[in-house]
Every structure is written in structure tokens, then in C-alpha cells.
């Protein structure tokens, strides 16, 4: 069974994800209030913080999971959409593999959101330390959800429509 309106839906969701991606990276994801000192961090400043404090493996993980993966997802979805629009018959197997991968890794970006939500819930020590979620977290979560939905709404059979027609 084909997914109805697959292309339009995917386009719309990818567009929405792109729109959310900008504030997700510009606004602070998390605000740590510790002993009267308030520190807001965006995703990128968090990566920089980890990197400057020598925790480069962590920095790498956060960078890949929170910055690269959403971008790669959006880029791969757009390229898939464009290729379908242009009825490209170019390497349908690889493109399908890219789609599967996109679908598979999508949920892993939620790690950040989970970390933030758990910290916000756990660290409530009054003046000693409090963690608040920032506007960036909402947008970031939206990006992840929207890209997941976009990947979901994309119909991989569209890739094969042309591929099948081409050689035939």
C-alpha cells in the first residue's frame, strides 16, 4: 500500500524541520543555575565546553548525535525528494539504503532531549543547583520528531518507480 501524499507530506515536514533547526541551535537548550551562577548553553556551546575541558569523546558524540545527524537526515531526505522529483534512476539500491539508515538513526538524536528532561527532573536542589530546559530544547525536539515523521512519510517505493521504469 502506498503512502498517500508522500512527497508533499515529506516536503512539508522537512521544511518544518529546517525551520526549527535554526532556533534549535541558536537558543539555549539547557540552563544550569548553580550557586547563584546562571549558565545557559546552546548545543554548540555545550560541545565547545566539553571540548575545551578535554572531554573530546563526549564532545564528538554530542556533535555527531545533535548537530551532524539532524543535518544529515535533512540533507538526505531533501536529496531523496529531489531525486524522486527529477525521476532519477541513479543507484536506487544505495538511495534506498540511505533512506533506511535515515529512518534508523533518526530516533538516536532524541538522546539529547532525554538527557535534558532527566536532568531537569532530577536536579532540583534549590539554590545549590537547578537545571532548566531552554527554548532550544523544544525546537531541537521538534527537529528530531519532524525529521522522523518526514522519514516515515517518505515512500521509498517512489525511488523504485523511476528506477523500475528506466531500464524497462
Amino acid at each position: 500500500v502506498r503512502k498517500p501524499n508522500s512527497l508533499q507530506r515529506t516536503w512539508a515536514l522537512v521544511l518544518a524541520a529546517m525551520l526549527c533547526y535554526l532556533p534549535a541551535n541558536l537558543f539555549p537548550v539547557m540552563t544550569v543555575v548553580s550557586l547563584g551562577r546562571r549558565q545557559s548553553d546552546t548545543i554548540f556551546s555545550g560541545v565547545v565546553y566539553l571540548l575545551t575541558h578535554g572531554m573530546w569523546p563526549l564532545a564528538l558524540i554530542v556533535f555527531v548525535a545533535s548537530i551532524c545527524v539532524p543535518v544529515l537526515k535533512i540533507v538526505s531526505l531533501i536529496s531523496l525528494l529531489v531525486s524522486v522529483h527529477r525521476s532519477s534512476g541513479w543507484r536506487p539500491v544505495e538511495r534506498t539504503r540511505v533512506y533506511r539508515l535515515t529512518e534508523a538513526i533518526g530516533r538516536w538524536s532524541m538522546v539529547d532531549i532525554y538527557v535534558v528532561t532527566i536532568l531537569v527532573a532530577l536536579v532540583r536542589l534549590g539554590n545549590l543547583a537547578t537545571i532548566e530546559a531552554g527554548a532550544g530544547a523544544v525546537f531541537f525536539g521538534s527537529v528530531v520528531v519532524l525529521t522522523m515523521l518526514a522519514a516515515e512519510s517518505f515512500d521509498p517505493r517512489l525511488i523504485w518507480d523511476r528506477a523500475g521504469a528506466g531500464p524497462a
Binding site: 501524499n5 508533499q8 512539508a12 518544518a16 526549527c20 535554526l22 550557586l35 547563584g36 522529483h85 525521476s87
Partner: protein
Amino acid sequence: MTTRGPDERDRDDVAQAVIEQRSRPSIVWLIPLVAALVGAFVAYRAISSRGPEITITFKTAEGLEAGKTKLRYKDVEIGLVKSIALSGDRKGVVVTALLSKQADEFLVEDTRFFVVRPRITAGGVSGLGTLLSGGYIGMDIGKSRETRHDFVGLDVAPIVTGEEPGRQFVLHADDLGSADVGTSVYFRRVPVGQVVATAIDKDGKGVTFTIFIQAPYDQYVTKNTRFWNASGVDVSLDAAGFQVHTESVMSILVGGIAFQLLPDLPPEPPADANAAFTLFSDRAQAFKAPDTIVDTYLLVFDSSIRGLIVGAPVDFRGVTIGEVVRVGVSINPTTLVFHMPVEVKIFPRRLLARQFIGGILPAAVSEDVRQNRMKLFVERGLRAQLRSGNLLTGQLYVALDFFPDTPKTTIDLAKRPPEIPTIPSTFEELQETLTGIVKKLDKLQIEEIGADARKVLASVNETLKGVDVLLKSVDADLVPDLRRTLESATQTLKGAEGTLKSAEGTLSAVSPLQADLEQTLRELNRTLTAVRTLAEFLEQHPESLIRGKTSP
């Protein structure tokens, strides 16, 4: 979609879907639309709440961190430090800060910025919160209407903020004393203000304090207000007993400035803001009547003025009416005699002030009148005399008093400054008298007198012996008739001889007594010489009375 056209012939079902898509493309497009709207709204919020950007120059960026340090006004966050950079001349740092929208109207000409750090002074502790949270930039909003976006930050937080009611005044003093920025100002021991700033005068001859007196206490600062340094303890021992004046314990520990109105004066309107006052070194100084009239006189002494220092008091029967300004030595070129000229300042109003205690001082008389009065006084016997103020330390002071027995003299008013005649000091007189007595004793030639006396006595002895011989020959040579008579006479004479002999014994016994007398007189002579030496030594080294004779 158009590129698809040719393929759709094979799947006619899909072609309908395309038409459907065109007829109602919406629903799903709402999602990016909502995302765009929310994004736009959030962006608009962020941009609209973004206030002005300002630069503040500080000497050091200690405790400041770009992106972290906040700007606060009354502990409300109103901005964030965006970046910190060295200034062009490398003499400081330029802090760029982003303020919130509402801060726009605060950025006026006299708005001040300062870094709040933990500060622990004797007077108190402030900014403790910043120990853990790091420093922040505080601000004090000015009253000016001119806007400004580049500021020079203060090194320390201002003690008085702009909106606090009260007034500033300026005090001048010789030195800082124990006062410092933050030192309290007391009015009747109530802390009513603080020292806001201290600075060395431009000419380097004093210190200027800027103090802030809170309303409503600032109304007590009038033309007749006296300020004094209230640090420490003022101990005085007078006829009323042992007295200790202090301000609060706090001021003893950390210093303070007190002020009060001069008593018994009509009320004055409050002084203008930034009016200048003198800061006296202590309370007594502050309340002393100001010496507006000063007369200078010259005193010429012939004796040593050791122990007379500049600033020594000029005393009239116990009332200090002036002070020594200059001491020196001069030589008369014709007679080659040395004199010790001493210049003194006399404040005649001090005599009057005591005469009219509590009242209004009489109008000042002209200089001519005052000098003529002085002339009259001198003719009546006013003399200056050096007196020992302290036997132990040998400090001298100048005493003015009337000595009616002194030879009449007058004052030459044409001379500048006029010279008040002097008389030798009592100590000097005593010394001279003693020396005179010793000299007279020296001249008495006691030895010769003693020798003469011995000679006289010896000759008396001789004579008596001659008489004895004569009588014996008479006894032998005289007629025998008379012998019996004579014998009886001889008997009598023998008795007389015995008597005479005993007299002789007595007389010869005189000679040791005489020798004793002579010795005693010599001894006395030596003692007096020693006294003179001691007197001279003491005059030159009065301190030896305490310290003993120091080896040179």
C-alpha cells in the same frame, strides 16, 4: 510534477491522486507554516528584547567573563557581557555588554558602572554573594538627560548611589589620618554619612575628602559646622579630672569623621551641596575660635634658647595667646654681640574671646590701636620671659607678664615687627646670683685671715712669756725686805702665771679650730664650684636629669 506527466499514462489511478493533491494541498503544509510562525515569533521576541549595546572601560577584567558576567541594577539582571578585549592603548580592558530593552533609558551621561566583587573592610563585608557566583557589573543610574553608550567603569563600587537623598560636601585636611573611602561620618555619634572619595590636592599640600551626608541630616551642615577627625581616643587630664572623649567604638577601630555645629550661634541656612569645609585634627581644634587677627612681634633674648621650638606657646598668665613662629640667632655687626631673635604670633582675639564667653565678639579694633595698646602695656612693665614649661624635658615657652619693677622702657612701633623687651628668666637669675655668691666667697682670702690670726696669737704668747721672765728676774733681784711681800706677791703672780699658762693653753688650743675653719671654707669653695659646674651642665643638658649623664 510536470516531468512526471508522460509516465502517468501507465498508472491512471495515480493521475487522480495528483489532481487531488492540487485540489487540497494544505493540512500537512500547516506544519511548516506553524513552525515558521513560531520561529518568526521567537526570533521577533529575541530581537525586540535585545537592547542597546554599550562599552565599558575597566582597568582590569578580573572576575569578568565574556558571555557569563551579568550586568545588574538593584540585583536585577539587565544585561550580559558579550566580549572583553584589551583597549587600544593596552591600559585597560573594553567590555562590550548587551543590555535588555528597558535599560535604554538608563544609559545617560552620569551613569556609572563598577565591578562588584567580595569586599571585606573594617567597616563591613559586601558582595559576599559574588564569592561563589563570580563578580557582576553593577550600575548606578545617573540623572542626566544626555544619552551615552561608552562608559568608563569605576574601580570600586560607589558607596553612595545616585538615588539616595542627601548631599555631598568637600573637606580639606592636612593628611588622610585613619579615614578612608567608606569611613562613616558621625553627627552626635549617629552615623549619618560616609566618605565617598579621597584625593590628594593638586598642589600636594593636603588631602580632599568628598563626603556624603544622608538626608535629613544634611541640613545640619551649615556655615558654622565644624568637622573633625574622630578616630582614636582623646584623653585629657585637666582641673575637672581625667577625661576620655571618643566617638563610637567603631570609629576608634576604623576611624571616623564627626561634625557638629558651633555652639551658641544663631542658626544658619544649610550649606550648599559641595561646599568646602576644613577637617580639623581633633574636637578641641575644631571648636577653637578661629584666629582671624594675628599680630607679629619680635623678642630678643640674650641667653640660650635651647628648648624653645617653633610652635611653642606664648602664654599670658596661663592663657595661650600665641605661638613661636621662628627662632634664630643674629649678630650685631658693630659690637659683635650675639642675640637670639624669636618671632612670635599673637592672637589678641583669644583674650577677647574669653572675656566675652558665649557672647558675640566685639568688633575688631584696628592694628594701630592694638599696637598703641601694646606700647602702653610695655611702658607699664610688660616683658617677655623664657620659662621652663617642663623641667624634665627642658621645653621652654614664652611668657608675657607685667614686671613693674623693671627699668622703664618703651617699644619702637616703627620697627617691623615691633620688639617687645625681654627679661632674663628666673632660672637664669638664680644661676647668676649663685655664681655671684661663689665669686664673693672666693675673694674673701680666708687663708690669710687665718694666718694673721695665728701670728697675733703667737705674739701674745711671746709677750706673756717675756712677762714671765721679767717677773722671775724681779723676784731674784729685788731687795730681800720686800722678799716676803714679794714672795707673797710672787705667790700671787705665780697664781697669775698659772692662770696665764692655762690661758696660753687655751690660746694654743685655738690653732686646730682655726685650721678646721680654714678647711671648711675651702671645702665650701669647692662645693660651690661644683654647684656652678652642675648648673651649667644642667642648663646645657637638661635631659640628663632623666637619662643621666651620657658619655660624649
